[in-house]
Symmetry: C2
Subunit: 379 residues, 2 copies
């Protein structure tokens, strides 16, 4: 099998589903926890992830290709074994990082040449290379190799770019089918998600969605958002694009976003989310609560005996006060970062649990309104 | 009650005992895990400490006085509550840090004036101040305020210094008795350990030991070692000093040391140890095994699928390969440090378990020989 999506309930366009994979079933909507280089920043272990209810870990193809090398990870038995995580893993395609992190890139029909951000080494990556790397990593879900044009790129550039991304997607699909059929492949049930592009141009998004849905992939992502456009533009693109993606496959909004973005995305039919915000904010002492964000560096927390959030079941809130966490940040103790990362990821994971419960109960609309009001003007 | 030491067994001078405190019973010999500013460096939580069998946490009076302030910790309910640790805590007196970290110090009979290493603020600390700070911290065991002269200081200087340290100890005892009798004191059963000094001068060590034993304190430490003298000099000082300390009280060798130092110390009658080596080494990727130390940065670990040590029950070895930990260090992921700190502290804690078992079984001598041979020329 590859992935099997089961739609359990709908509320308007919002979807409550399950995605069955070779590494277990994912309850959707889901927020994936980002561990770029096969580790969650902030000294968070996979035992920690299990403790905070993480369903899917997301790692980065480009970073792992550059270091330690996907071939090494394959020899170590794949990413699951390497990082000690037996639940689903999604790997992105490397495309976004090739375009954002590397230097001296040149894009051709075959793929992209660029220099590693680690050692300047010249690397070529195209659809086939991305699939081979992700097959070596043996993730549960591989993402197609795409170009992610700037959301302010002009229409003509984006039109040619999405055409190429479509041709690349066909090559990804063919290469993945080949890889999954080989004896030596670690995960022969690796799923492939295609990525819709088209910047903020409705017609390009819709036309591209219609073309890629014909390829009958395991899932579909919406890429190229949360890269400079307004929230309203993002929600508008979801409004016009999601209806043209297959309703019997999971839909993944890449790199998004704030709790509000997620609630709006769920309402518009999105099943999968990922974002570095919760862990990155946590490392800077910014933590989420249902009444807004707190900055743990602020002196107001120095003698506050309360946990970050009353009633929160995360490892930070169960055992430690704001006062102690404030002290850890002031003293530059790594434990402060770790506790805040655990809190923020638990906040996001629990947000998704609440969303799923509200969809199950048919109360999503009122749940969403209350949640947004609580955080209003504060996040 | 304050602390009650029960000697369960002796083998030569080596002692197998128990130290009963208001925060639970400590099995001795014991290695205390150092969390200088009320946290173990490397993002290690108190849940982690419980998982690796830590009996006693050690925090630093000077550091906590400077930041966040012992008065704040008292208002938060004491150190146990502040850092979420319900087992015994030992606080050092601040003396060693006053002499090693601060600048512009001036020593008088009353105490020491110095400037904070954090903000340059002028601070005065004497025996009474140290006791009041430690009473605010409400640790299980407070250490007396002493001067720690250099092990290469001349005889006359050390003679005058240990005289003053004796007078300071009397003042510490009186102040602690007063503090423990007060209604508002958080831990009215706080123990006080005196500290033997005398550098490497046998007669000064012995005379000082004889004088301080008369004060009938809760325990006795040997300070001023592991600060520049040779291992042989250290062992010699233990040989000549320990017999003059009370045998019905625990004996603590401060700031020591390597596994070999600990085995030699146990043989000479020491019950308590502490050292920053295991956690500091871990943060630099240096890990202990029964066949010597490994440097996790070394390329030889890049594809090594074995744990740091086969059969080790620490959270790193139960779940992760050398290959993965090497990758974490190369990628500067904090999780690498945390896993190595957990491994090294577990190595030390298990070393003490093995030592206690060997004392119980009467096999300490052969155990010690085998352990040292295994690590020979490698640590």
């Amino acid at each position: 099998m590859s992935g099997t999506y089961t739609l359990k309930k709908t509320l308007g366009r919002a979807r409550r589903g399950e995605y069955q994979t070779v590494h277990g079933t994912i309850q959707t909507p889901v927020f994936m926890n980002v561990g770029t280089v096969a580790a969650i920043k902030g000294a968070v272990s996979t035992d920690d992830l299990r403790a905070i209810g993480t369903q899917v870990e997301l790692s980065n193809t480009y970073h792992l290709h550059v270091r330690p090398g996907d071939d090494l990870i394959a020899r170590m038995g794949g990413l699951h074994r390497f990082m000690n995580w037996d639940r689903p893993i999604l790997t992105d395609s490397g495309g976004f990082q090739v375009f954002s992190l590397s230097s001296l890139r040149s894009i051709k029909e075959e793929g992209v040449s660029f220099r590693s951000h680690i050692d300047g080494r010249k690397i070529f990556m195209g659809p086939e290379e991305s699939m081979r790397i992700q097959s070596n990593l043996a993730s549960t879900i591989a993402m197609a190799f795409d170009e992610c044009p700037s959301s302010v790129a002009d229409y003509e550039y984006v039109r040619r770019s999405v055409d190429r991304t479509y041709r690349w997607l066909v090559r990804c699909r063919d290469e993945m089918a080949l890889l999954n059929s080989r004896e030596e492949t670690i995960n022969k049930d690796q799923c492939l998600f295609g990525i819709n592009q088209g910047a903020i141009y409705d017609d390009l998004r819709i036309e591209h969605a219609k073309r890629i849905r014909e390829l009958d992939l395991d899932g579909y992502a919406i890429g190229g958002l949360a890269v400079g456009e307004t929230h309203e533009q993002m929600y508008h693109i979801l409004d016009v694009t999601v209806p043209h993606l297959p309703q019997d496959k999971p839909i993944y909004l890449m790199g998004v976003g704030t709790p509000a973005n997620i609630l709006e995305g769920v309402e518009r039919g999105v099943d999968f989310f990922d974002c570095v915000y919760p862990s990155r904010n946590a490392r800077h002492g910014h933590v989420y609560t249902n009444s807004g964000k707190l900055n743990m560096f602020n002196a107001c927390h120095a003698e506050d005996d309360r946990p970050i959030e009353e009633g929160c079941d995360c490892p930070a809130c169960r055992s430690y006060s704001r006062s102690y966490i404030h002290h850890l940040f002031k003293a530059k103790e790594m434990l402060g970062m770790r506790l805040c990362v655990l809190h923020n990821l638990r906040f996001y994971n629990r947000l998704m649990e609440e969303i799923r419960d509200a969809l199950d109960d048919g109360t999503f609309e009122s749940y969403k309104r209350q949640k947004l009001e609580g955080m209003e003007n504060k996040t």
